[in-house]
Symmetry: C2
Subunit: 333 residues, 2 copies
């Protein structure tokens, strides 16, 4: 690999040889239903807690991605995974029976891009096969970050709906699949947003920064991509991203950009306010709908930019701002 | 890099060019006092919360390590950091003003070895300079994982005392310093321990596995090292490690091994039960006492194996076992 500015370019691009996105019932009723690799009607996954249900879903996505790539866990050098739960419990319990060396990551909702970025650098360094993954679950997130489910708290229009789902991708040095041409590790960006019901606003500045850094380093414009895909800015965050890109970076993003959080649900019909969120949002959308459409040739060059809000319930209750981060992955057919 | 078994060997070993370990008052009254780069009498660090105090301590360790290496933050390609707090709040707030691309990690108390392992692979891949770091704080950990400080809960003899401290190391492709010759990413190991007051027991099986895998892959024995250094098994976990190594792997570790958790405090005088724990335990001991002694030539070949208990208060209250993990870093003068 070589770096230019903040962007890491791969001379021999790592290849996504297998991938899977799995979701829960509500996501399975949305516009992307036909592309998911599995839709679980029972989002408890037969487990005794929401947290273990999330782990089971991530485990399922990993096994499907591996099977898709024709690999067994014993052929994997490293699994890179993380999630939103305290101490990344979702990943720990998903991975513990796979017997694969495990790198725990924390990037909040940016984790799919973080795991793919770090994973492809490790492949570039010499690993033959890695697995990147992440997950989220509406019920485990809701009770951890907001209120008990039974409370039925109301949400402002800027709030988002945590996706119940998981995504996983197998990345190898060689093979058939979508190429990872470049990645960028994001820089934490904090404009002082403190409203935990407006994550889009907290993450939009990080997205704008990473996208503009990437365009600068690659000397490209939005029209050079089939799609610039953010993770889960939702409706509110997307509007802010467009404004920031226009005002700060003189770049028009409208028409070249979509957001996984606005794609996974029907915002008019599914009562999700500003859209989907959570690690599993961009994880499941990228690893099913997007990569499938790239394989079919409908999309050839996609810049995937997943954003994370690096807050905890504690940091938020203490009145601290919500730092944002956005990592980028350039995918090419 | 090339892999043999689970161990990653570097053909051009990355070099630790700067390092710093900083601690709080209690750690500064222990046996390693003279080697720490800073001892903070006021462990609130002038902040409004214990969590932000932890962030301030990590920030301090990073700045000292960079200064030690003669580097400014703008010369750093990536910072890799994580901690025990929910959503790794300690790291997010420590890093946010540094303006360096940030890779969030979660490895619980294994984070110092995880950040050094992943960081050195990234240096091997082409990064010129990375910073690895981690932190913990007695007060932020205690109230998150156990009880409010004011409650004064009693602890069984197997319980450990979370270290208030942080460690950070700068790793570069070239320069003067201690070489990272090999690393190993650990595999999650779960023998069904559920007692959150006995983390040593939960982590010892992972330590035994990683140490024996490393000895196998390198065709070495404990006597080939000046020191095999575990992170924070404490007294109870160390006893179990010796038993496991003897019974399962026919290897005698006594005499070649020490544990940071037993080194940082005087177990007889400082009322810490089984010893120190927390990410900051092995972080501060490695990045001060150990690396300083390696530079002086007192230690030439050290196998650093930090262990993590991948539990959350939620997973524990739900009665789940505590999965352990241990990552290894081979350091040579």
């Amino acid at each position: 690999m070589h770096m230019k500015g903040k962007t890491i370019f791969f001379d021999s691009p790592p290849i996504i040889t297998g991938h899977a996105g799995v979701v829960g019932k509500k996501e399975g009723e949305g516009p992307l239903a036909q592309d998911f690799d599995a839709i679980f009607e029972d989002t408890s996954m037969g487990q005794q807690s929401y947290e273990l249900a999330e782990s089971a879903m991530l485990h399922d996505a990993i096994i499907r991605a591996l099977s898709n790539a024709g690999k067994s866990p014993s052929e994997v050098d490293f699994i890179l995974s993380g999630d939103l739960l305290d101490q990344c419990m979702g990943s720990a319990f998903a991975l513990k029976d796979l017997e694969v060396p495990s790198i725990g990551l924390f990037g909040a909702c940016s984790t799919m891009a973080l795991s793919l970025s770090v994973g492809s650098m490790l492949v570039d360094a010499g690993a033959k096969c890695i697995v990147a993954g992440t997950s989220s679950h509406f019920c485990s997130s809701e009770r951890q970050f907001r209120f008990p489910l039974e409370y039925g708290g109301q949400r402002p229009p800027s709030a988002q709906w945590t996706v119940t789902g998981a995504g996983s991708a197998v990345v190898e040095q060689q093979g058939d699949g979508i190429k990872i041409k470049a990645v960028q590790i994001g820089t934490i960006t904090d404009l002082g947003i403190t409203d935990a019901n407006n994550m889009g606003a907290a993450m939009a500045p990080a997205a704008a920064r990473t996208i503009s850094d990437f365009l600068r380093d690659t000397n490209t414009k939005p029209q050079n991509y089939d799609l610039i895909l953010t993770g889960d800015l939702g409706f509110t965050g997307t509007e802010l991203l467009y404004e920031l890109m226009q005002q700060e970076y003189k770049t028009k993003l409208e028409g070249y950009h979509r957001d996984c959080g606005m794609m996974i649900f029907d915002l008019k019909e599914q009562d999700v306010n500003s859209g989907g969120s959570g690690c599993g949002c961009s994880g499941s959308v990228l690893c099913s709908h997007i990569l499938k459409n790239m394989k079919k040739g409908k999309l050839k060059k996609v810049l995937f930019v997943a954003t994370g809000a690096l807050m905890s319930p504690t940091s938020n209750k203490q009145g601290n701002p919500i730092p944002g981060i956005a990592h980028a992955v350039l995918l090419e057919r």
